[in-house]
Amino acid sequence: MQLPNHPTIFSITEEELDLDALLDSITLHSTGAAAIFTGMVRGVTSRGDAHETVYLEYEAYKPMAEAKMKQVADEIRARWQTIEGIAIVQRIGRLYPRTPTVLIACTAAHRDTGVFEAARYGIDRLKEIVPVWKKEVGPNGEEWVEGDYIPKPGE
């Protein structure tokens, strides 16, 4: 469903996220709305097992991660055919509290045709199928964060 001029940006990067540039790169002449999700490193976590974080160390299986980001974008376009541009970026390396680590942005002509739902779907799917991992380093040691999603055949 991707029209030839509908941009899809996806990357694994060690660079700082530049929201303005990413948004610009998925804004068309017909675009009137964007929903952007970003995740950041929490320095303190209260929910569940409360703890402090000194930094997170992100690692990716880069070529597969970028292919799976492309797949997430394709899934978004199949579900919300109004979406114009999609950007999916995961930053890796050593990242400290308050740093944005991941971005999913979706643009469309209007705000009521799925941009919010598409961005939400995008971050949920990224956390299920895009091969990226993080090790949490806290005041008392380090621990790999383990996901709990088992991809199904065809994912």
């Binding site: 597969m64 991660a65 680590t101 991941v102 990224l126 091969p131």
Partner: protein
């Protein structure tokens, strides 16, 4: 027998002292299940991981019955936790 190379990530990589990949000899026509059993037997540090590990063939998720194609890019890692 064929020698296959398997990329490792996250906890799996740490278990083998940071090695980015391991190599294992397998009978021709072996499956993902055969590969996991061989690793569990030959590399004790990874035995526990073989129960919950995800496996990919040419950057697609692959499952126990899948036969390993010649020259495929194979990888193993825990459930993902990015974001």
């Amino acid at each position: 027998m064929t020698r296959v190379k398997v990329l490792l990530f996250a906890t799996l990589r740490e278990r083998v002292g940071g090695a980015k990949s391991i190599e294992v000899d397998l009978p021709d026509g072996g499956t993902i299940r055969d590969l996991k059993m061989r690793i569990a037997k030959n590399i004790p540090a990874l035995e526990q991981n073989m129960k919950s590990v995800l496996t990919t063939i040419n950057r697609e998720y692959a499952f126990d019955e899948a036969i390993l194609p010649d020259g495929a890019e194979l990888a193993m890692f825990p459930p993902v936790s990015g974001g």
